[in-house]
Symmetry: D2
Subunit: 347 residues, 4 copies
């Protein structure tokens, strides 16, 4: 079987990690790297002995031997570069968030479908051992009925002038939420504030309602004194805490919960009996494989038709739409916004 031939655009912070992981895969050859700053492309190219090094994206689109183009450039450029890649008949892997608007994201997903190529989105966290373990717990029913998802992702972060804290950090939380919980969110509301002379929001709270009282909440903050990366997924049977700052035991599964029964006298509907349950806590051993290596393996297998993409264009669209809706709610002062169901289910 011939190797999968890959070209990578963007050799800034994240691009080289992707090059490294594609380069290590036995069925892949990294054929080209590209960066607007040629020096960065050269450095990455030298380290992984990439044949073609360029500062012109067109060169990659025009190269018929390439199977897959990786778009690891700033968000604002994703749409144009990905469209060009897809139109040249190549599969594409795009960094998160897929685009800066839901409309563009949908267009790309539709284009990929039309061209019969794959559109993958780099929702890195869904490939970590921690999130995969949580997915397993959700899928097996171990958690019971899901109650809430609460994610905190705060630290003294790098302020960015073009995007706010939501577009910077929340794609991680929203993509994990989408992966773990699926389903169709009904409503979103968000509040965000810009402090000091910051031109964009540096702190935001996003609340997303789902059917059956499932509630998701995301707190992102660039101005926090200490790094927190904590997610709680509460269910009727078990509850999971995922603390990504811990060096080990990142995921803890608590056998804790509450059950309600109606009280003895049928007259009073407000009387109820509560019973509490507190059993062992288990920190399962997690697969330590690097998330990007798992992601690359999924993409390679998906291209070979052996399994579906875990983070496909539809997931990318759903995440971008939620970010966009959160942004709109912020602009409207925190007003709750209905999420259009049909558009959602179309994907």
């Amino acid at each position: 079987m011939p190797p999968l031939r890959v070209g990578v655009m963007g050799c800034g912070y994240w691009g080289p990690n992707l090059v490294r992981n594609f380069a290590r895969h036995p069925e892949v050859k990294v054929e080209a790297v590209c960066d607007r700053e040629l020096k960065r492309a050269e450095r990455t190219g030298a380290e992984y002995r990439v044949p073609t090094v360029t500062d012109r994206p067109e060169k990659l689109f025009a190269d018929r031997s390439l199977d897959l183009v990786v778009v690891a450039t700033p968000t604002a450029t994703h749409y144009d570069l990905t469209r060009a890649a897809l139109e040249s008949g190549k599969h594409a892997l795009v960094m998160k968030p897929l685009t800066s608007s839901g409309e563009q994201a949908e267009e790309l997903a539709a284009l990929a479908a039309k061209r019969g190529v794959l559109l993958a989105v780099d929702h890195t966290f869904v490939f970590t051992g921690a999130v995969r373990k949580m997915k397993e717990l959700v899928s097996s029913g171990a958690l019971g009925e899901l109650y809430y998802f609460d994610s905190v992702r705060v630290n003294l972060g790098l302020f960015q002038s073009d995007i706010n804290v939501i577009w910077d950090l929340a794609p991680h939380d929203i993509s994990i939420l989408d992966y773990l919980v699926g389903g169709e969110p009904e409503e979103i509301l968000a509040v965000g504030v810009a402090h000091g002379q910051s031109p964009t929001e540096n702190i935001a709270y996003i609340t997303i309602r789902y059917p059956n009282s499932f509630l998701a909440h995301v707190h992102v903050n660039w101005l926090a004194p200490a790094k927190v990366r904590q997610l709680i997924l509460g269910g009727s049977r078990k509850m999971v805490v995922y603390d990504d700052v811990q060096p080990s035991e990142k995921v803890k599964v608590y056998d804790k919960g509450v059950s309600f029964q109606n009280g003895g006298d049928g007259d009073d509907p407000y009387k109820f009996m509560v019973s509490y349950r507190a059993g062992d806590m288990v920190a399962p051993q997690l697969d330590a494989k690097e998330a990007l290596a798992v992601e690359v393996e999924n993409i390679v297998r998906a291209v070979r038709g052996k399994e579906p993409l875990v983070a496909d264009g539809a997931a990318g669209v759903r995440v971008v739409r939620l970010l966009e809706a959160a942004q709109r709610s912020i602009a409207e002062g925190g007003a709750p916004l209905r999420l259009a169901q049909p558009a959602w289910s179309r994907l």
Copy 2:
């Protein structure tokens, strides 16, 4: 100087702690304890050698020798008992929340003023060494301009059938917020959900906007797998983290922050330069005196006219009003509600 003569109503969970702290104060005599269940009053009375033990509140109101009545009964009974105490010319100390409605709270505050007696509210946390240290940092300007207040108070809590998680837990956070930050909140929005067969909300997120972009957020949850009691107060100069679950070093002051300057070229208002600052972290030694002892001392001195009450009726009113507004926003699906300024400033 004759001792301050105190009667305590309610010998359930919290009342005995108050009896103990009043009994220990050298200028106080606990003259009476009262509980609907006489046995509970008897147990507390015996332990602290209280002369009068009764199950009839009227006995306390009628006792002309009593200076102060402590109302440590369920919230629903606060209004009636406190009104009777104030009308009988006694000072009153009422557990949090002061009442279950803002209107009633205002009525009590007005009544106390009219009768010339003190109305104190047991906002216990504002008397802790941790919160007092934070107040000191705010007042001295050490934190700079305040940016945000983020409080998380979650655990596997005792479900209650008459009140929801907001009225149970958030009085703590809101009273700390009111004490530390003061000022006039402009808007509130809250989302809450009841899970399982719970008749009341067991998880809620409250967001409160203040002038000048100061933002407060409170997360309360009865269905969390682990106990979290964490508050972040972010300012332009320093940031404080108060973690009440820690056995020591509960308060940490971070010399961290971000400064913004406009970029060099005046044409682009969106260009800006960010500089980051990260200095030492200091965990100040905290006064270890029991909060209730500090509170009792403040009340005794306030009755003697030596200093103002730290947590007075007006504070009680402000907290109840915010709880009430949060409840209303939940009922309206998370809609942002303006907070009536005049009513607020009247206090």
Copy 3:
């Protein structure tokens, strides 16, 4: 069945806790409390409505109605008071350490046996939910062959002029070690140092060797900046960490280990293959019952002949002997001392 009639000597820090727990037991009546400072006895007596309050121990020994005497006085007085109690035909419960010399401890154990009464020692920790869970894990074989016991008990402690840090803190560790591991230690060595003007050692390290390479080590320190109470029990199959400072998840059971096989070529005995195993970590739910309540229950049942004492005179002797031997090794500059086996096994 008539109640067990108990008299308690010593109403300082620990005595009242014992009174409280005996007073709560349905089959016990606390008949007398005694303290050299009568006021302390009176305070405790009032709180638990104890009929007899005295400052004269003889009164307790002479009271024929008493079944059990609790000795909660300073260590130096244990021997005399306990001997008198036993000689008057009463059961005795003595605080740790049983005595300040092994000889005296043995004498008391022998005396109790001769009189046909029980001699219990307040090795409180062995009655905690945490240590009982660990005992269960050891007994069931879940840990496999035991490899080592490492205990750290340090903090900024109260310096004492009559005893050093070993006699103050190490009885806890040594009694847990004796309870969990049993067996016969072969050798002990200890190093201790007095800093500043301290008249006694304030830091010490004790090492105890057992057969089959099992090694125990205890670090006690009165001059540490932060409180640490951590014990690791390592076995061939699992390893347990008991962190008593944690508010929850005090005991963690790690499914981790190493296996050795001889390498392929039989010639080289130093060649070996190591395989590592890392599975889930489980923090078992622990019985939250107060340790003293469990201890009191054991004593009551032992007096009734329903079960053996968990911490009997023989355990008290073993602990005192190890403390004494550690002290001797310190005096000899850290020299390893053989532990006399016959004396040991006689118990």
Copy 4:
């Protein structure tokens, strides 16, 4: 000024880190890399574009253009390779421990002195921001008189067949101890045990006595369930805890302590008054520069004659001698061994 020309022997785990840090230094050129397995040398050589790649050490010794040889090979080979490097007139940097015997270490130190070249030892930890900050605190007198050094370095480590846990892990602790405290240790004792089929000790406790009651203790363990890297340095004024597992706030300085005064009545020398002090805790901001980069800078400046080596041959000798003495004490069953002072002070 011509660049410092460096050759690196050993491209296993640690060697490439050294190549990277030397390669980044503006005044250094890495001219050669060498590994017994040529493939490893080739991989490292390619990444850093090193001109000479070889599997023959002699090639480096014979290369007159080389100024410095780095010895990053297994410990057993240090002596021969370093001697050859020094004899060929080159400076040498040797991984820790310098050699596997004190005699060899002294020989190398003497040889370097005779040849007029530098012998540096890679005691990496003394170049970390954390340890440098601690050194600053010791040197400035902020800690007062030093009382004890307690270091724990345990985890589920890689068992090695040629060296035991002391030679693997304790060089870190001993080199930090030597750097921070200096002085002349008087006595050492150590206990170590091999568990399972392990051919070498996998757990060991080392105690080192210094004049004036200063006590050092090191616990190293390959069979611990969780990773601990914690060092406490206790002084009369302040105490420092260095926890290397923490992602931030690795060093905490506690303003805690105890003072002793003789009691009022002069007759009783055992009466004393203790006063406790507990002030703020400060976690100073640490220099985040990579330790190896700081080390390389020191070596370059030392070669240029601008500053002395921080970790020189004499430090290497002192560390090896302590390891060797610990090993001997283990062999003698934990017997305390006097450390020969003259030999020590000769350095």
